[in-house]
Amino acid sequence: MRIRISYKKGVPIRFTSALDMHRIWERSFRRALIKVTYSKGFHPQPRIQLGIPLPLGFVSLDEKVDIWIEESLLLDGISRQLQQKLPVGLEITSIQEITISEKALSTQIQFSDYQIYLLNENFSPKVIKDRTINLLNKKEIIRQKRNGKKYDLRPLIVSMKSNTEIEGKPLISLRLLSQQNKTGRADEVMFAMGYSITDFIVERIGSYT
């Protein structure tokens, strides 16, 4: 049986990398006494497929993971059993069964929505708005990847706007491409606007096909 879990990722587990999330799921299932299917061969691995990786430090309202399990179980039961066995900061929002042959999540997702919370109260909504508009008006935004390769961030931004505030704090809404080789990073957008890494927290709202 292959299931797709939708879940929230909050604090403090936002500091657990996408790679480490694999192990978190494997262990949570073992704790919940639900048998995960293992690959055959010399180094059997649990069949767990994460959706679009969430960068370190981001929180999310809607992450997805596909997991193959040995037995056919009621979805409600899985949800109940599993939720108690998750580390702090992970919360299951729904579980659905999907066909074994369904394509991997990462190949289906087209774009993701983000909300960016600005942490510094001194930022004026006016400046944020101006910077947003300025950025969108640019023809190209050349950024550098960690490996030194340069790329244009502009075509990866689908839309962006600055809402004045939520609970007194300024907020930016952002839609970025999340395709396999065309994925925009929300923090890069913020850097391009002149903010530094300690100025904001990114929340992914969801990813869509």
């Binding site: 587990i13 500091f15 657990t16 704790r31 942490l119 890494i197």
Partner: protein
Amino acid sequence: MQEIQEIKDFLDRNLITVQKPGRYVGGEFNQIIKNWDSVDVHTALAFPDIYDIGFPNLGIALLYKIINDRRDSLAERVYAPWLDMDKLLSDNNVPLFSLESKTPLRYFDLIGFSIPYETLYTNVLNMLNLSHIPIWSQDRNNADPIVIAGGHASFNPEPMHAFIDAFVIGDGEEIIEEILDVINNCKTKQIERQEVINLLSSLEGIYVPSHYTVKYHQNKTINNISNHFSTDKKAITKRIVKVLPTPSANLLVPNIKVVHDRISIEIMRGCSRGCRFCQAGMIMRPVRETRLQDITTSMRSAVELTGIGEVSLLSLSTSDYSQIKELISNVALLSEEYNLNFSLPSLRIESFNSDVINEIKGKRKGNFTIAPEAGTDKLRSIINKPIPEQAIFDTVQEICNKGWNNIKLYFMIGFPQETMLDIEGIVNLCKEINYIGKKTNKGRFKLNVSINTLIPKAHTPFQWVNFDDYDQIIKKYDFLRTEFRKTGIKTSFPDYKASFLESLLSRGDRQLSQVIYDAWKNSAKFDAWHECFNFEVWEDALKSNSIDPYFYTGRPRNDDEVFPWDHINTGVNKEFLLLEYKRSKKSKTILDCRESCLNCGIQTNYQLICSKVRSGRV
């Protein structure tokens, strides 16, 4: 508390700027968070290395559970922040905090450091400093926590005597309860800090260094050590638990990658073999085994409570466990059921036979480690690890036949009476093993050889032995490097200066506290880390204190010398250690003490019978 909220806000914003921020947030599965105000005594369990290294520490895990099981107490954890986090905290004047509640360390009643080895000393100082707690014990006042330390390094507590209020010598499981009782009682009665420490000193196994005076001879060796506080506690007797507790199963599960990321189950404490260089083998006597039934039950519940898919059985000599065959077959069954991997470190050739090999049916055949320690039968007799060469070859042949392709060998150089023939012996032994491996498994076979330098340790028969001379050590390394070239055998050598520092601190005395402080003040920290270790800082610190390190390292000791750790009683008598040292000079070996008692002192000092304690019949 306002300050905690400030720390949380600071972390929310700034943690993203450091490497692996997951080291500083807690939130692991099975973590225990108690309401601060609902308990009377607050303990911070501190490990002086980074989270990744300290997390798997079984001692901390044990104490964490014992303390949090008490209604009047809570325990939270803290590890040494890595350089980037260290800088972030000090640049912003944010105090070091506990992982669970983010409470600054100075608000705890008790800080307990676990110090397994000497090269962590500067990190202890650094963590106190980051916590805004005075580094020198004498500078602390009523508002400061009581700082205690335990772990193997505390068996020679003297180099750290000036920084630690009280040392815990030996097993911590029972004494921690007594310590908490004293502290809770004193808190209710609002007793002054120094008086609390005085009261702690009356507990067996507690060493309060400020109660002791050391008098020296002209030549800087010790004349005598006396207790000026109370005349009835001349020596501090190590604590032992006669029956090992059932291994804890609800271990914390890390959210990020750590070293040894597996379920560790202690199957045996102590070792009856008597290798003359081995400190653990002497200080952890008597041997106590965990009951087979308890191991199996704990292992099963640990898998279900943690979900971790790898189990490791811990002891100093796993194959000496009396029911090793049954144990391995139980583990094998369990690994089928839950898709586990399991590892059996510390197997010994003498007790590791084909029965045991056949039982190991793990899916992955990883490294197989053998520790001959020395290159010739003669030298192995001198160190009392008398494994005949042929037995090593036979074992290698057998494990190669069973399909292991990676063998790792451990050796040491710098043993007393060692000659270049013994060093050649290492090469010959390795070449023969490589030949057997290649013959059996062709190109898949790989041999790794790890060479270390003997660090003579306190409380061992080799405590009288000198750390080998620089020229000798370098000559031996060079010889080995040349000989192993083009053999296809991978080798690793230690950094001479790192070994030298460890040797200095291992048998150090009270004079070294100032040296440790000066080195730390001059930026020494993470001395166990190759990329951080700076020997020059230590050389400067020694020089400015007019201390010749040779006094601690290269100087051979007289038979009757009073050692800085002589007032720490491990239960093994100094006379026995000296006798052992003398036997080593004549290449005389002794048997495993299960076969015949050698009167090391454990039975008489603790009034117990080893064979009964071993199997838990007390």
